[in-house]
Amino acid sequence: MSTRNMSPVKVDMPSQEPLIRAKNFKEVTHGYTEEMALEEAARCLQCKHKPCIQGCPVNVQIPDFIRLILERDYQAANEKILETNVLPAVCGRVCPQENQCEKYCVRGIKGESVAIGRLERFVADYVRDNTELKPEKYKMNGNKVAVVGSGPAGLSCAGDLARMGYEVTMYESLPEGGGVLVYGIPEFRLPNHIVRHEVRQLRAKGVVLERNMVVGRSITIDELFDKHGFEAVFVGSGAGLPVFLGIPGENAVGVYSANEYLTRSNLMRAYDSRYDTPIRHSKNVAVVGGGNVAMDSARTALRLGGENVHIVYRRSFDEMPARSEEVHHAQEEGVIFENLTNPIAVKMGQQGEVIGLTCIRMELGEPDDSGRRRPVPVPGSEFDIDVDTVVIAVGTNPNPLIKSTTKGLEVTDWGGIVTDESGATSRPGIFAGGDAVTGAATVISAAGAGKVAAAAIDKYIQEKNA
C-alpha cells in the first residue's frame, strides 16, 4: 500500500476554464486520473470508527472502498460501493458531500476532508470505461413488480428487485429514463451518457422500461394490479410540479419555471440546433432561488448566450441550499448574485414580454421554523433589474396525477405520499419513495428510499405467497 498523504487539501480536480466552459455544455470537471485518485485515496486515515459513513444516507462503506482504490482493485471498489449505492457515477458528481459524508470526515477538522465524492466518481467512471457490459440477465422468480417513474428512486428500486429475481417493468411518462437526472440536471454537470449507461445496464439485466407511459392516464395503478398481474407497485414519481411566486407579471412572455427552462434545454436539447424545441437565447436573465435548480438554470442561461445572468435570492450565501461547489462554479463563471433580494413584480412591455424584474432588498430577522433567519423586506429599497427572461426556481411539489387516479392512496396536504419507514403506503401492495414522498430532496436519499422499498416489497410478496 502506498504511503499516507498528509496534505491538508484535496487533490484538485481538473476542470474547464470558467470563461470557456460558461459557453459550452460539456462537463465542467474532468474527474481524477488514476494517479490523482491514488494520491487522494492516500489521504484517508482508514479510521476504525468510520465517522464518514454516518453522513452518507445509504451508508456507503467509505474506508473500505478507498482501501480497495489503494489496492488498485477498482472493480472490487466499485462493487463495494454498489452494495449500498446503485448510482455511484451520479452521486459522486451531484451529492451535496459537504453536508453528508465529507462533513464527518476527520481530515476535515484540520484542513479539507477526503474527497469522497470525487473518489466515488473515479471508481464508477473507471469501471464503466474499462469493462465490457455483460448483458447477463438475472434469474427470474416469476413474480412481477411495476415501478412508476425512472428517476433515482425508481432505478434503485428496480435494480434491487431485479437482482432478487423479480420481473420488473418501469413506467416512465417522459421519452427517456432517468427522471431529474436527464430532464433537470444539465449536461455540463451530469452528462446524459452516464445516466443512459445506468438505464441501459438495468435493461440489459432484464428490467423493462416502458417510456411515454403516463401512469394515471395511459395506464392506472389499479390496472397494473388487476389486468397486468403485478403483485406490487413502487411509486417513484418525484416532485415535478413547479411552484410559482404569485407576483404580478408572472405570466409575461419570457417567464419560465425552472422545470420548463431546464426541460427544454436538457431533455429536449434546445441548446443543440439539430433539435426543434425552441428556447429563448437571452442576454439578460434573472433566476429566482438559491438551490441547485437555480444554479443550474443560471449556468444554463450563460451557456445559451446570457451576458448578465443574475441569481435573485432572498437570504445570504450562508443559507443557500445549493451544493457549495455549484455556487462556487457559478461565481467563477460570472453569475451575478443578488442575495438578500426578493422579486416583487415582473415588468411587462407592450407585447406582454418581460422587460425587467422589480426587486426589494431584504435583511435577516428572527429565525423561522426551519431554524434559518427569516428575511424581511427593507422598506423603500425597491429597484429594477434589467432583464428579458426570468426563471422561477423556488421549488416543486409532487404531481397530483397519481393520487387523483389511485383510490385510497393517502397524501399530505402538500401532496406528498404518506408511507411508513419501509415505504409502504396506505394501500397494501403500493410502496413509494423519493421526492414523491419527501418533496424535493436529493438523488442519494431518493435512491436510498428505492432500496428500502425494494426490500419491503420483497418481504411483502414473500409473505403474501407463503
Binding site: S173, R217, N251, G254, R269, L401
Partner: protein
C-alpha cells in the same frame, strides 16, 4: 415507435391520421389530447384526440400544417412510424345532462370540436353546429357533422360555400332569433372564442372552450401551459384543456402563445409565416368585421 395506420387529406392543409396506440385508445375520452413527436430531434406537439377505435387500438388526430412539426407529420404516409405518441392527457369533457347544445368550430378548431358534437349526439342531446372556414376549398368533415347534428350551419368568410360570414354572425342570428341552448362548445382561434364568449355570456349560456397554450410535457411538469381562469393560475394540460369560457383570460393566452414566434420564424420561416398570417387575418372576427 408508433405506426400510422391510415392517412387522409381533409383539405390542402388539414390531415386526418389514425395512429396505432392501444394504451391511448383504451383510456381516451372526448376532450383529451395526445402529444406527438415525429422524430428524435422533434418537438412534443399537442393534438386533440379526434376519434378512437378501441378494438383496433387506434387513435385519430386531425391537424393543420402550421410549422415544422405538423409539416413533418403531414409528410408521413400510412405504414410509416413516428417517434412519440403520449396520452391521453388532460381532462375529459363533461357533456352529460344537456338537452340542446350548440357546437361552434372555427378553422381547424372545427376538427377539435367534432368529437364533442358526436358525443353529445350519442348522449341524446339535440345538437346544432356552426362550422366556419375561410373558403369552399377548406371545408371538411361536412358529412360527419351533418350526421351528428340537427342543424349544420357552414360559414365561409367569402361566401364561396354555405353562408357568407364568420361563425359569430351566425351565432348572433341564432341568439337574436331566440334560440336557446343549455350548452355551447366553442373551439377555434383565440379571438373567435373570445368573441363567442362575449355573446353567450350576455345570455348566460354556459360555454366551454378548449385552450391551446404552448406545452412542453403535457403532464403538469413545466408550467408553460399556465392559463388564467377566474383570476387563478391553472395548467391547461392537467386542469384543462377545456374550461368555462366565462372564466378565461383570453388576452393573457393570446400573449403567451406568441412566446416563440421569433424562434419558430427563424427555424421555419416561409411555411409557417404564410399560413399563420392567413389564419390570423381570417379567423379574427373582431378585428376584421367590426
Amino acid at each position: 415507435m408508433y405506426r400510422i395506420v391510415r392517412k387522409e387529406k381533409l383539405n390542402a392543409n388539414v390531415t386526418r391520421m389514425s395512429i396505432d396506440a392501444p394504451h391511448v385508445a383504451v383510456h381516451a375520452n372526448v376532450g383529451q389530447f395526445i402529444m406527438f413527436r415525429v422524430y428524435e430531434f422533434g418537438e412534443r406537439v399537442p393534438l386533440t384526440i379526434a376519434g378512437v377505435d378501441r378494438e383496433a387500438g387506434t387513435v385519430d388526430i386531425i391537424f393543420q400544417t402550421i410549422g415544422k412539426s405538423t409539416r413533418l407529420l403531414a409528410e408521413k404516409e400510412a405504414g410509416d412510424t413516428i417517434y412519440g405518441f403520449v396520452g391521453p392527457l388532460g381532462q375529459p369533457s363533461e357533456l352529460e345532462g344537456y338537452d340542446r347544445a350548440l357546437v361552434i368550430g372555427g378553422g381547424v378548431g372545427t376538427a377539435i370540436a367534432f368529437p364533442s358534437a358526436v358525443k353529445l349526439n350519442r348522449l341524446g342531446t339535440k345538437v346544432d353546429v356552426i362550422a366556419g372556414f375561410k373558403n369552399k376549398d377548406i371545408v371538411f368533415l361536412e358529412d360527419e357533422f351533418r350526421a351528428a347534428s340537427e342543424n349544420l350551419y357552414v360559414m365561409t368568410d367569402d361566401g364561396s360555400y354555405g353562408e357568407e360570414g364568420f361563425v359569430t354572425n351566425k351565432l348572433k342570428q341564432l341568439l337574436d332569433a331566440g334560440e336557446k341552448y343549455d350548452l355551447v362548445v366553442a373551439i377555434g382561434p383565440i379571438p373567435m372564442m373570445k368573441a363567442v364568449v362575449a355573446m353567450t355570456k350576455e345570455k348566460e349560456m354556459k360555454t366551454l372552450v378548449s385552450l391551446n397554450p404552448i406545452m412542453v410535457d403535457g403532464t403538469g411538469m413545466c408550467g408553460g401551459c399556465r392559463v388564467q381562469i377566474g383570476g387563478q393560475t391553472k395548467f391547461a394540460c392537467v386542469d384543462g384543456p377545456e374550461f368555462d369560457g366565462f372564466m378565461v383570460d383570453f388576452d393573457d393566452l393570446a400573449r403567451r402563445n406568441r412566446s416563440y414566434l421569433s424562434e419558430e420564424e427563424d427555424r421555419d420561416h416561409a411555411c409557417r409565416l404564410q399560413i399563420a398570417a392567413e389564419q390570423f387575418d381570417h379567423d379574427d372576427p373582431v378585428q376584421n368585421k367590426e
